[in-house]
């Protein structure tokens, strides 16, 4: 019996890789040989992708969006770390709690107030992304911090550290790897929002605007092509984060079951 069909089995990496490749190929073959009535065919999508890259500046737009996304992610991460580390002091816990609950807000209408407060379209774009990402990040990060066990803290105290010292070693330094994981998981929200804000402020272009235009003229092949590009970038990002984690926190996985 192949380990692929045994519950809780751990097949070898090579087996898994082959499995994934096989599944992707099967999907592509299905798409190629059994085109759906209203879904663009694989050939159309590739043609559209070629055209988008060569004459409509897909790569430039992607780069512009990526820069905005990383800029927003950087600001949001610092902000969220600050808010969630503050929860060590009971006085600030309601703040983190409130920030985390703000993720239920919808952005419609809020952009108008942001526009009134800020001085340019780019800042509004950035604020929407920062706001959207921060509330999700705070939710994940406070969960990590609240997951700090009494044993971990006691361990630090027995090593002779004071309250602030053990907080620094256990919560701040000790949880950085987990924090990175939270950032990785929530990066996707920025991609979801970026297409929205780029249609609000179209002067700066971006991949969201390109997607919007393709959709407006019902170039569905172009829409699928751009979505696939975004997907590919997202997957690459995930691997990038994994690599960074391995380099900086080689021992983070020790002791985790």
């Amino acid at each position: 019996m192949s380990p692929l069909f045994i519950p809780n089995a751990h097949p070898r990496r090579a087996t898994l890789a082959a499995l994934v490749a096989g599944q992707v190929l099967a999907l592509l073959a299905l798409w190629l040989f059994y085109p759906l009535q209203l879904f663009p065919s694989l050939g159309d999508v590739f043609r559209a992708l070629g055209d988008l890259i060569t004459s409509q500046g897909l790569l430039q737009e992607l780069w512009a969006s990526l820069l905005t996304a990383f800029q927003a992610l950087g600001i949001a991460t610092v902000l969220a770390l600050f808010i969630s580390y503050l929860t060590a002091l009971p006085f600030f816990r309601p703040l983190a709690f409130a920030a985390s609950k703000l993720r239920y807000l919808t952005l419609t209408g809020l952009t108008f107030f942001m526009a009134l407060l800020l001085s340019s379209g780019h800042q509004v774009k950035l604020s929407v992304l920062v706001f959207g990402a921060t509330v999700y990040l705070v939710t994940g990060m406070t969960r990590v911090i609240l997951g700090t066990t009494q044993e971990e803290l006691d361990h630090a105290r027995t090593l002779g550290l004071g309250e602030w010292g053990s907080f620094w070693q256990v919560v701040v330094r000790g949880k950085l790897a987990d924090m990175l994981e939270v950032v990785r998981q929530n990066f996707a929200i920025i991609w979801t929002l970026i297409t929205l804000v780029e249609t609000l402020y179209q002067s700066e272009g971006g991949i969201g605007l390109l997607l919007y235009k393709q959709n407006r003229y019902l170039h569905l092949d172009g829409v699928v092509a751009i979505q696939l590009v975004i997907l590919a970038v997202g997957v690459a990002q995930d691997y990038g984060f994994e690599a960074v984690k391995k380099v900086f926190f080689p021992y983070a996985e020790l002791g985790k079951m």
Partner: protein, 592 residues
């Protein structure tokens, strides 16, 4: 390696990646985005309504429809935006769903009216309806209403419908049109000096009716437009894209800058500049919001001037249309009956406005609101400027004969509008809209002809007519543009190239139905002054005659006036051949 070493290396790697990519992208070495040049659109002309008998024939008031659903007849769904041009349709239905005693119930149609402001959702719904009809022919048909000048762009859905085995079909009947509510609002100085708009930015929902108004105004005034919403061309009129017509108004109200790359004659300079919205193309209530919240803009031009630009056009799938010819005929009949009622009786119009309020479902906008802006109103804005807001018209049967050119030797006004704006959009956006579906593939007038034959000899309320007093000078000019209509040297006959220009001019004037046309003739300084005076008059006359001969209905008596200037007011020095050629011109001024 120590953690510190890793951090330093990682920071180095990031910096390298960032600068490397930036350099690569900015260098434009690989796959540059195609340059977009600003475009000078050849003037956009619209058909005019004919002038007919001035007698107003009033149809007697019919009993108003009831409120109880009739629930009987061919089921159909009508998707509409919150748009006042639909008053006749609202009255014909009596409510969101056909009521007893309504014109549609009498014609055995059971219609559900649904509000849908999102055009791409409308397109998707049509495709879905086509598929549903394929699997179950008794599915209620779907009709969507869109702006007449927006249909070329909307026709992109054709390829999807073809995959579903059918295509778009236009119902050969329109319930009404915009008559002032869609407009370009700008700084007052643009009225006197359109050139002041160069290097300025107009906020609007791109590739739509409002955008078209702005484009037409630019074209009529010979102003280049920059089609790329991500660049700024100081020598053209630029556009700031908004996600809808209200967001466009918001861009001006909030007034925050957006940064974009400056281009000079189509080439990027790499310099970033901040632009703000200086003007807005929008429709009611966008104009109301601007007036109430900020003010400072006046109506530059509106669908009152370009009175044929925006009829309400209904489209459906050919699959449903072909299978339900009698129902389509019933629809048209009911709309015609209701159209006469709405046009002649305030009670009927008020009722139609109440039905509109029910359908559109905005709690803060009762029937009175829709009624007020249907009629159009003048209000003072926050800065005390008086602005005209709103304005729509309902159509009756004769208005439709005029619109589709079935009155005596008339021009198919809608066909001219469709082609005009289709060409403009595909010229501006060749990548996104390389082509559009020819109207002849979607429009079949046989049902309208059938109704026309039925009504022959019966008294019908006349179409709205446009009459021009012949001795009336243009007091307010909307646009002025020089046309290089080439004449054979020393004569007032046209070269073949001129014929093409004239066709363009004709289509263009047809859209601006309510505006008078002044044709000014000029010559170069060759020959003596008297002869030049005569020659310039003969040339301007030749253009006027050509237009009137092509369509008596679009150019009724008194619409076109002729002015001769001889060699006066040269636009270029008469010292070179090229300069002389520029001076031998005809200028066309539109105004009222």
């Amino acid at each position: 390696m120590t953690t510190r070493g890793k951090i330093v290396l990682f920071a180095l790697f990031l910096a390298l990646a960032y600068f490397g990519f930036n350099k690569l992208i900015a260098s434009g070495r690989f796959f540059k985005k195609a340059d977009t040049q600003s475009v000078l659109l050849s003037s956009i002309e619209l058909p005019a309504a004919p002038s007919g008998s001035r007698a107003t024939l009033v149809v007697p008031l019919a009993p108003l429809p009831g409120t109880a659903p009739a629930e009987n007849g061919t089921p159909v769904v009508w998707e509409v935006m919150a748009w006042n041009s639909q008053m006749a349709g609202m009255l014909a239905n009596g409510g969101p769903r056909t009521t007893m005693g309504s014109a549609l119930a009498a014609n055995k149609v059971d219609m559900q009216i649904v509000r849908q402001d999102d055009v791409s959702k409308m397109q998707a719904d049509l495709v879905k309806n086509a598929l549903d009809l394929q699997s179950n022919p008794s599915t209620p048909g779907l009709i969507v209403s869109i702006m007449g000048d927006g249909l070329p762009a909307f026709s992109a859905v054709q390829s999807q419908l073809q995959k579903a085995g059918t295509q778009l079909q236009v119902i050969p009947y329109s319930v009404g049109k915009s008559f002032g509510e869609d407009k370009l609002m700008g700084p007052k100085e643009w009225l006197d000096n359109p050139k002041a708009a160069l290097g300025k930015t107009i906020a609007c929902y791109l590739r739509d009716g409002d955008h078209n108004i702005a484009l037409k105004w630019c074209a009529d005034n010979g102003l280049k437009v920059n089609p790329d919403e991500t660049t700024y061309d100081p020598e053209a009129v630029n556009f700031m894209a908004a996600s809808d017509f209200l967001a466009a108004a918001e861009k001006y109200i909030v007034g925050k800058p957006e940064s974009r790359t400056k281009v000079v004659s189509g080439h990027s300079t790499g310099v970033k500049v901040d632009v703000v919205a200086d003007a807005v193309a929008t429709w009611t209530p966008g104009d109301v919001n601007i007036a109430k919240q900020k003010g400072g803009l006046v109506n530059i031009v509106s669908t009152k001037d370009y009175s044929n630009q925006m009829p309400n056009i209904m489209v459906t799938t050919k699959r449903w249309y072909d299978a339900h010819q009698p129902a389509v005929l019933s629809l048209m009949t009911a709309f015609a009956v209701a159209g006469d009622q709405v046009k002649s009786h305030p009670e009927a119009l008020t009722r139609a406005a109440d039905v509109s309020a029910q359908v559109y479902g905005d709690q803060d906008k009762p029937g009175a609101y829709w009624l007020k802006y249907y009629k159009g109103t003048s209000e003072a804005d926050r800065t005390g400027q008086v602005v005209e807001l709103g304005g729509s018209k309902a159509f009756n049967f004769n208005d439709n004969l005029t619109l589709f050119g079935l009155d005596n030797g008339g021009t198919n006004i809608y066909a001219a509008v469709y082609k005009t704006f289709g060409d403009v959009q595909s010229k501006l956006y060749p990548k996104e809209m390389p082509s559009y579906v020819p109207l002849t593939q979607m429009l079949d007038l046989s049902l309208l002809r059938k109704l026309q034959a039925q009504y022959k000899g019966k008294t019908l309320a006349p179409a709205e007519t446009q009459s021009f007093a012949a001795d009336d000078e243009i007091r307010r000019s909307v646009s002025k543009r020089a046309w290089n209509i080439e004449f054979n040297t020393g004569q007032s006959t046209f070269t073949p190239a001129a014929q093409r220009e004239l066709s363009q001019l004709f289509d263009d004037l047809v859209v601006a139905g309510r505006l008078k046309v002044a044709v000014h003739g000029y010559t170069d300084n060759t020959g003596n002054a008297d002869k030049n005076q005569q020659l310039s008059e003969a040339r301007a006359e030749a253009v006027a005659h050509w237009l009137e001969a092509k369509s008596a209905s679009a150019f009724p008596q008194g619409r076109v006036q002729v002015y001769a200037h001889g060699a006066a007011e040269p636009v270029a020095p008469n010292t070179t051949e090229a300069g002389k050629a520029q001076n031998r011109r005809v200028e066309v001024v539109l105004g009222n």
